[in-house]
């Protein structure tokens, strides 16, 4: 019995030590080879370069939001602008991102905020989807706050933050396949009507109404207040969607007007008058501009960004 316990302890400690060493090596390999390939890290590298090279750290326009601004806006066509948008970014993340930029003493004249139909929808903005880029966000948000916002235990966040290779094997293989030229780095364009169904379901389930995530909306209002306190002008943009997506919203009788009435009523309470660029239906007749039913392709992005630039220049 005693011998058993001693053997267990000895072998257990040795096994754990070997496992920890392998885990450490894997973590380091992940940090060195995979993490820098992530889009958010690439964008952060550009941002750091901007901080280093820009003498006065001034930006005319800063874009925030999810994959819509991220994919639809090409800042090379918009003067003195920066894209802080990121796939899946919710207003909780936008708030912290803006706070970080302001802490870096960047002077922003205008922030461009996304105001799409799905922007506050509880389905894509559920707590468990927050801070998916945990390593990036944990560098400027305390893990206690992250745990609270994600409604997860501190221990769970700690594990996810520190065992970086956890559940990331697929990413490793994908990178290897891309590196070997076996799959394209950006995936393939989607059939619009088929994709519209998937996109609608991902945004609203199969519901005719948009259930607003309270947490997301609170942080949206916090973002507006933060901008106001720092004398930043706010411009809202509704990003372009395809005709197929629109047909899907009609099929479910999505209450678009009711949704925007609610949202604008709250915006009015915080900032009063505001500018909105409504790009929702401007490319209904241009399927050639779309990558899938809700995101523009390179051509669409160029056309749209030029249009945005005209709009901003006229303001």
């Amino acid at each position: 019995m005693k011998e058993n316990k001693i053997k267990f302890l000895k072998e257990g400690i040795f096994f754990t030590a070997v496992f920890m060493s392998i885990a450490l090596i894997l973590n380091l390999a992940y940090l060195k080879f995979i993490e820098p390939q992530r889009l958010i890290q690439k964008r952060d590298a550009i941002y750091r370069q901007f901080l280093q090279n820009s003498a006065n750290r001034e930006l005319d326009l800063a874009f925030f939001g999810d994959s819509h601004p991220d994919g639809d806006v090409d800042t090379s066509y918009i003067k003195n602008s920066f894209l802080f948008a990121q796939g899946g970014q919710s207003y909780v993340e936008t708030y912290y991102e803006l706070k970080k930029v302001l802490n870096d003493k960047v002077k922003i004249k205008n922030i461009v905020l996304q105001l799409d139909l799905h922007t506050f929808s509880a389905i894509p903005r559920s707590e468990d989807k927050l801070f998916r880029e945990l390593y990036y966000y944990s560098q400027f948000i305390g893990i206690k706050d992250i745990a609270k916002l994600r409604k997860e235990s501190l221990l769970s966040i700690f594990f996810q933050e520190n065992i970086m290779f956890l559940g990331k094997g697929n990413e490793l293989i994908t990178n290897a396949l891309i590196h070997l030229g076996l799959i394209p780095p950006t995936g393939s364009p989607k059939e619009l009507s088929k994709n519209a169904k998937t996109a609608y379901a991902a945004h609203f389930g199969l519901n005719p109404t948009i259930e607003i995530s309270e947490q997301t909306f609170d942080y949206f209002l916090n973002t507006l207040r933060l901008a106001k306190e720092n004398g930043i002008n706010i411009i809202f943009v509704k990003y372009p969607l395809s005709k197929q997506y629109e047909l899907e919203t009609e099929k479910y009788n999505l209450d678009k007007e009711g949704y925007y009435d609610k949202v604008f009523a709250e915006i009015d309470k915080v900032i009063g008058e505001h500018a909105v660029f409504d790009g929702y239906g401007i490319y209904f007749d241009n399927p050639e501009y779309f990558w899938d039913s809700e995101h523009l392709n390179a051509l669409g992005s160029e056309v749209f960004s030029k249009k945005l630039n005209e709009y901003f220049s006229s303001k």
């Binding site: 267990f8 885990a23 956890l166 094997g169 697929n170």
Partner: protein, 485 residues
Amino acid sequence: MSFNSLQFLIFFPSVVAIYFIIPHKFRWVLLLISSYYFYMSWKPEYVILIMFSTLVDYILGIQIYKAKIPKAKKILLSISFLVNLGLLFTFKYFNFFSDSFRQALSLFSIPFNPLTLKVLLPVGISFYTFQSLGYIIDVYRAKIKPERHLGIFAVFISFFPQLVAGPIERAGNLLPQFLKKQYFGYQRLAAGLKIMLWGFFQKVVIADNLAVVVDKVYDNVTDSTGIPLILATVFFAFQIFCDFAGYSNIAIGAAKIMGIDLMTNFKRPYFASSIADFWRRWHISLMSWFKDYLYIPLGGNRVPLPRWYLNLMVVFIVSGLWHGASWTFVIWGALNGFYLVFEAATAKFKDGIAKRLMLDKFPKIQNIIQIGITFALVNIGWIFFRANSLSDAFYVVTHLFSNISLNIFNISGDDIGLGWAGLIIALSSLLIMESVHLMQERGRGIRQFLSAKPAAIRWSAYLAAIILILMFGSFKSAAFIYFQF
């Protein structure tokens, strides 16, 4: 608390450590508290249901044993049936039957507004209800003596490793193990951990990755025809196996570490060469329960032929209903019953065909063909098991071979929701699992194979398995499919 959660990673080692530190006479207290805590992490108030079932069957078990008159024993047994099945009916089947009744009346244009109970299905209710009923029937049949220690009996009903998804244990096997003093054993600990590791591999690496494809296709079935439907159906066959066998393995391994041996629940079911063989290998604890407590009391196969066929159909329809309160499960059960009846009725005819084709001279080829046919038939059954509705199931059945293209490379990894990397991982993991199963079919267990190797190789294999699980596992706390039953 699910086995694949961080909570369990802390909970289980803590329970095991305390279990071996405290004296044997207090261990039932620890097991009972930890089992109730484990269960209460889902919906705390439902622990009352388990406590109630436990108390009722504890008292009735003793009273049945004490009763001198057979009629009194029968009455007490009926009370237990009424209470246990009553709870199961209320929480699991009431809404299904009242809605089906409404639909039946609506066919005759009779309006009926049924009462709908707004209750959530208590996790594992079908499992612990059957375990408790098995105990009562065994006491009634004088196969076992009733347990006089309420605490030990409560642990038997609620033992946390197998509480929510089995294996459904027999009192004759499990109860004496709680009474026996268990010592810490290195070999047993290592064996238990290896079984758990295999279970985690099945669940988080295979089942949860395949689930992405299955859910994408089956949640919008009308979007697909041909290959994606076939692929999703075959993937579901492996998903449900890995999900459930994975759970069973984790449960068996966890119990083993504490010195408790639970029964085997799966024996490589996709190597079955007939439907009857499949049901001897799939969810063994439930099927043996049905055999002992339903099929044999109905007369089993020692009755006239039509009655035997009827017995088979009854058992499988009830088994379908046990799985879920939905017509898709009833049809799944009926279909499997029909397979068995058909198999029995055509046994001689099939042998004749095999002889004519001279397959009897090539038993290996005959076996492979039989395995293939059985797998295909089981898959047709799984369509009804997985589909969200009967209309979805019929759509899948009628569109499996529509617009089929032999060039499966036309379908991208993105189309089926998993991406190429996920698909590669899922398929390679399946290959690993089936290779291990093939070894076991040939009489060589992977654990015996590894234990004959030098420590460096053994440890490398275990470390590789852990790293594989951590890297390629899906850790979104995906619930086990069988929790809903």
